[in-house]
C-alpha cells in the first residue's frame, strides 16, 4: 500500500520505513481484509522532508493529539460513532476508533520543525530533514 516507495538502498529511508510499518500496523487490524487496498497511511519524501499522511475521517483537530519528546512522536486519536438520536442502525461499517501510538523518528528528522495540518479528514505531518552533515575528510600525514 506504500505506493510511493521505491526499492532503494539509501539508509535515509530506513527510519521512516520503520515508522510507516508501525503506522500501517495500527490501521491494518482495524480494516476489513477485503478493503486492504485502502490507503490510510502514506509516506512520501521530498528533498527537505518526509511527509506522513493518515486518514482520520470525521474527526476534528480536537480529537487528535500529537506531541514530540526525546525524538519520539506520539499520536493519539479517538472517534465515536454513535447512532444519531432517533435513528436505528441498519448497517455499520465505520468503526469507532481510538489509538495511542509512539514512533521513534530516528536521527534524520529535525523534531523542532515538525508541522501538522488537518484537512478533509486527512492528517498531514511534515517531518523536515536535518541538514546533511558532510563527511569530513581526514588527511593522513606522512611520518
Amino acid at each position: 500500500m506504500l505506493m510511493q516507495w521505491k526499492a532503494t538502498s539509501n539508509p535515509l529511508f530506513n527510519d521512516v520505513r520503520v515508522l510507516t510499518r508501525q503506522l500501517d500496523d495500527v490501521f491494518r487490524d482495524r480494516r476489513p481484509k477485503a478493503r486492504a487496498t485502502r490507503r490510510d497511511v502514506t509516506v512520501s519524501e521530498s528533498e527537505e522532508a518526509f511527509i506522513l499522511r493518515a486518514a482520520f475521517p470525521g474527526m476534528s483537530p480536537e480529537d487528535l493529539s500529537l506531541e514530540v519528546a526525546d525524538g519520539i512522536l506520539k499520536l493519539g486519536a479517538s472517534r465515536s460513532a454513535d447512532a444519531p438520536d432517533g435513528y436505528r442502525v441498519l448497517r455499520r461499517e465505520r468503526h469507532p476508533l481510538s489509538l495511542q501510538r509512539a514512533f521513534d523518528l530516528g536521527p534524520k528528522v529535525d523534531v523542532d520543525a515538525i508541522e501538522a495540518a488537518f484537512e478533509d479528514g486527512i492528517l498531514t505531518i511534515t517531518l523536515p530533514k536535518r541538514a546533511e552533515q558532510e563527511p569530513r575528510k581526514i588527511s593522513i600525514r606522512a611520518a
Partner: protein, 110 residues
C-alpha cells in the same frame, strides 16, 4: 459532475484506483441517513446519484483515488428529499421517506 469536468482535462484520472467507501446506514421513521468515510475528498469532487431506489456516490480524493459506493433502498425514498453534506472527510446523506410509506397510526372508531 465535477468528476466529469476533471476527466475531460485530465484523462488519466479515469485510471485512479477505486475504493469501496465504508458506510453506516441509519433509519428513523421519516429518514434514512448514510455516513461514508471519504478522507481527502473535497466538496466539489463528489458526484451523487439516486436512481431506482439506489443511492450511488463517487468522490475523488486529492486526484489520487476514488471512493465509491452504492446503497440500495426500498421504494420508500423520496428522490426529491435527499440532502448531502461533506465535513472533515465524511459524506452524510439524508434521504426523506415518501410520506405515504410512513407508518400510519390508524384510529379505531368507536
Amino acid at each position: 459532475m465535477s468528476e466529469h469536468d476533471e476527466t475531460t482535462t485530465q484523462p488519466q484520472s479515469t485510471e485512479l484506483p477505486r475504493v469501496t467507501a465504508r458506510v453506516d446506514v441509519f433509519e428513523s421513521d421519516d429518514h434514512y441517513l448514510v455516513r461514508a468515510d471519504v478522507p481527502g475528498v473535497a466538496k466539489d469532487h463528489v458526484d451523487i446519484r439516486f436512481h431506482d431506489g439506489r443511492l450511488s456516490f463517487e468522490g475523488t480524493a486529492e486526484s489520487e483515488l476514488i471512493y465509491a459506493r452504492t446503497v440500495g433502498f426500498g421504494d420508500d425514498v423520496d428522490p426529491d428529499a435527499i440532502e448531502a453534506t461533506l465535513e472533515r472527510g465524511v459524506l452524510q446523506l439524508q434521504l426523506g421517506k415518501v410520506a405515504a410509506k410512513k407508518p400510519r397510526r390508524i384510529a379505531i372508531g368507536a
